[in-house]
Amino acid sequence: MYVLDKSQVDYILNDIRRNGIETEELQLNLLDHICCVVENEMSPDTSFEAVYANVLPRFFKHQLREIQEETNLLLTFKNYYAMKKVMINSGLFTAVTFVVGTLLKIGHLPGSAILLILAIASMSFVFLPLFFLLKSKEEKVKSAKVILGTGVVFGILFCLSTLFKVMHWPYGDLMWFFALGILFFVFLPIFYFTGIRKPETKMNTILASIMILTVGGLLFTLTNLRSNLNKESAISAANLYYAKCLDRTKLSNTSKYEQQNIDSFQLKNDALKHEVETIISTINGVKNGFYAYLTEGKKISELELCNRFNGDFESVAAYFFKQSKMNPEEDKLKSHLPILKAALEKFKEFVGSNYTKDVASILDLEGGRRLYKTGVKNVSWEYLYFNAVPFEVAVRNLNQLELSVRIIESSCIQ
């Protein structure tokens, strides 16, 4: 049998390469195959070139490259199935962890955070990118690929921004805005204007666009434009609560005083009333002094003050304390709190000697322990309630004092 020499083999190999067979393994396979056929068909009276020219066209319909393309297709198909499997599994994983995570979150049970993070991560980093890769291969038109791409980018950003917002991580709001921006200004226009051009997709495009606009608009209404809105409403709710409690206790105390007809009790009640008025005017004096200090004498409502000085530590420290020159870290009390404390001690003593010693539990003027950067320290009452606290906490503590006094009064009226 005829055996091809090295130059003939090289000639065939170069020809295979020239005809678009890129994979080395495929080149070697085809080379051996062609050589076998050529060697079989060679006879003493035929030339190598003629036989080769006759054999090669049997390997393809149009051109040799077809074999390379078919191989590529089959090899990517293998990946295609693997990717599809991973996509479906990640989708299922996302769905299950998301549902369980949400249920745990609603029930305030542990483990919700980690499940939500896993769900959103698998959705954003596995499912959606694979979805884009697989679907974009199926789409033949470029505009459809662009729509798919922007849609997936929106989806990933939306998922991540939701996660960041739920976990109170930074930049959540920024991502949320960015996601909605992509939806309204990139995805929707491309989707709408490509869809309405074709008569067969016109109606569906209009309907889908309306749905997207509605859902996107609903999501936009959830956007927190003023991040401190919740804090403000919480403070005003707390203020309202104290004001209501104070009003009610004051009213019920007044009616209790009025119901008293026995003269011997009348005297005692009058004394109590007097003591209460004194202490409350002292508390209010401190409070009003504090407000006047902050507003520099201008008239501003308590709620507006709360909004303006919310989270302000410095103004509280400036009113109640002065910084020691010797040791800047150690604040010294100004006279406001010692006067208030002395008045409160006097009131406690009055109630203790005339009524009950139990007032201590309601009006606690003892100090406590506070966690400092350097460790836990024992601090006095003034420091515990009025040092290193923001404005709203200082006001709450003053309001709480007033309410405690009213409650003690209520239990003492005879």
Partner: protein, 112 residues
């Protein structure tokens, strides 16, 4: 000779069955064996054979062994254990398919 459409659906089954019946074979040998066994009625085209061989190799169904033959390299294909199982499944599936087609196309009187 049968149409390429008919052969396309059975190509994997043919390759797997032939390789599971022998130790190892190379591409040209496979085409010749099929031609010989079918009396030339089935001829595997190279354009379909090699892409399928490469895909089966990538799936881990086939393993390869490279041998120097004269001035060129020859790639021998042999079947892996997982490939053997797949070959069995494919042959059984095809046998079932033939039965169904026989019934469907009325090639045999329906006695049931």
């Amino acid at each position: 000779m049968y149409s390429s459409e008919l052969i396309k659906g059975t190509l994997k089954t043919i390759i797997l069955k032939l390789l599971s019946d022998s130790d190892e074979m190379y591409g040209y040998e496979l085409t010749q064996r099929v031609k010989e066994l079918t009396g030339g009625k089935i001829q595997l085209t190279e354009g379909a054979l090699y892409p399928t061989l490469h895909a089966l190799e990538a799936q881990g169904v086939l393993s390869t062994n490279v041998v120097n033959v004269g001035n060129r390299i020859r790639k021998y294909y042999s079947i892996t254990p997982t490939g053997k199982q797949l070959a069995n499944d494919k042959v059984n599936e095809y046998a079932d398919f033939i039965q169904t087609m026989t019934f469907l196309l009325g090639l045999k009187p329906n006695l049931g």
